[in-house]
Point group: C2
Chain length 274, copies 2
């Protein structure tokens, strides 16, 4: 089993340290699994891990390499939306056989892949989670899913046979109406957020809940909303009341908490019926 | 001539000071014009200038009062999206005879009004601009448009006979796909932004430019992008290169600068063919 790591968004300055940690975890927990950190991980172009062309080329290369079994997005940040459409258009049949895993900004790619009908797309931990507190467990969990589709890696509330999808709230909002937007009708939608003001979270929920495409979901579950930025004056309520409020207003069932977030406890959510 | 001021979004704690300044400017530059600050301006509910119900009630009241000639949104902040749809649904015929002016968060209402076919909707200075440096000129300019549709108040690059619209970038992004989104086909679209990171501006431009509805505009002009928050590492380029880049990528004509922004030089942009 060979898993490729590419960095489609922000620069990955600590990629060597991350690679060492991830390879050590893999050697201990999944012997025989090879993790291939594509050299693009070491590129930098201002904010990004290389130019758009460099990031897209690496992504297309690993997608189309039949000797690789999975593509694991290295980290979040910002930028995969800049290459997603053109890269996906260059994917051949070998790309469909792979597993794909990431979250946060990588949601732009997860969305496009799922829209294109890829069967093994999941929201879950990324290599750079290795440097978080407790990140070793996150990396092991990701590998459990990538290597063996281990049920223990999954978000515990997933309902067998029902389609799910999971996104960072802001990323999902920014891809609505674009060529990356998947059809989420009848899906249980899990969302999480980090480092935003509550007023911006409220506004992003309006954007979601007032969109007819999102109103067709079977329901919304709320993951962790971490590092909320200050609101002056106090916004009133919290992320949960905000989400419940918009769900009620637009008739979307609110289905409770979800065990996902920008943290090392982040569980795996395969897209589709699982 | 009577102009009503309501505050559909953030609380308006300095409303008395603003009202004094605006009334003094009106008395000097437009004698005989009465500015009516609705008592709702003084309400506060956490972040907002009163509860959703209170803000909506004030907005509907002034909209339907045939003795008022214009509704002028007091300030930006956040929150008009929370009441726009329900308030607009309660507007009667008297609302259509009025002029409507604001910008920033008020763009949610401008959008909904324009979508509903209101003829006198414009993006331009608000009462609270009176407390900005040079804000007196902004207030006078707004009154020039509200009272007399003065051509000198208009953004100087507007093309006679061609339809225009103007929005804060983030506000426009957040209303795409919602019941507030107007048809901007063949419009010259002016955008401005304030207090965002360049990466977030880039992401918001992707969201706009990749949306088929926005790709139908006649072109985009960029107003001022003020108080850009730090990007670490440097994003590369600036707001203009970001907007030009996305316009090129999605085949939207980039038509140059626009004289709008979160500042006292902000000019008036009537929606539609003007």
């Amino acid at each position: 089993m060979r898993i490729a790591v590419v960095a489609p968004s922000s620069r990955f300055d600590d990629w060597r340290e991350v690679a060492e940690r991830v390879e050590a975890i893999a050697a201990r927990t999944h012997p025989g699994v090879e993790i291939y950190f594509h050299p693009q991980c070491g590129l930098a172009d201002h904010h990004f891990a290389g130019t758009d062309a460099e990031r897209a080329a690496a992504l297309v290369e690993v997608a189309n390499d039949a000797a690789l079994d999975a593509v694991w997005f290295a980290r979040g940040g910002y930028g995969s939306n800049r290459i997603a459409e053109r890269a996906l258009a260059a994917f051949g049949p070998a790309a469909r056989d792979k597993a794909w895993l990431g979250y946060s900004d990588a949601g732009f790619l997860l969305a496009g892949l799922y829209r294109a009908g890829f069967a093994n797309v999941a929201h879950g931990p990324m290599p750079r989670d290795a440097v978080r507190d407790g990140g070793e467990a996150a990396v092991e969990r990701a590998l459990d899913w990538l290597v063996a589709r281990s049920p223990a890696a999954l978000e515990p509330g997933l309902e067998p046979g029902r389609p799910h999808a999971a996104f960072n709230l802001t990323v999902l909002g920014m891809l609505l109406g674009t060529p990356l937007e998947p059809d989420l009708s009848d899906h249980i939608l899990l969302i999480e957020e980090v480092s935003e003001h509550l007023y911006a979270i409220d506004r992003a929920l309006f954007h979601l809940a007032a969109n007819p495409a999102i109103r067709r979901v079977a329901g919304i579950r709320l993951g962790r909303v971490g590092d909320i930025l200050p609101n002056d004056p106090a916004f009133g309520g919290d992320a949960r009341t905000v989400v419940r409020g918009w769900c009620e207003r637009y008739g979307i069932p609110y289905l409770g908490d979800a065990d996902i977030g920008h943290d090392s406890a982040n569980k795996v959510v395969p897209f589709g019926p699982g």
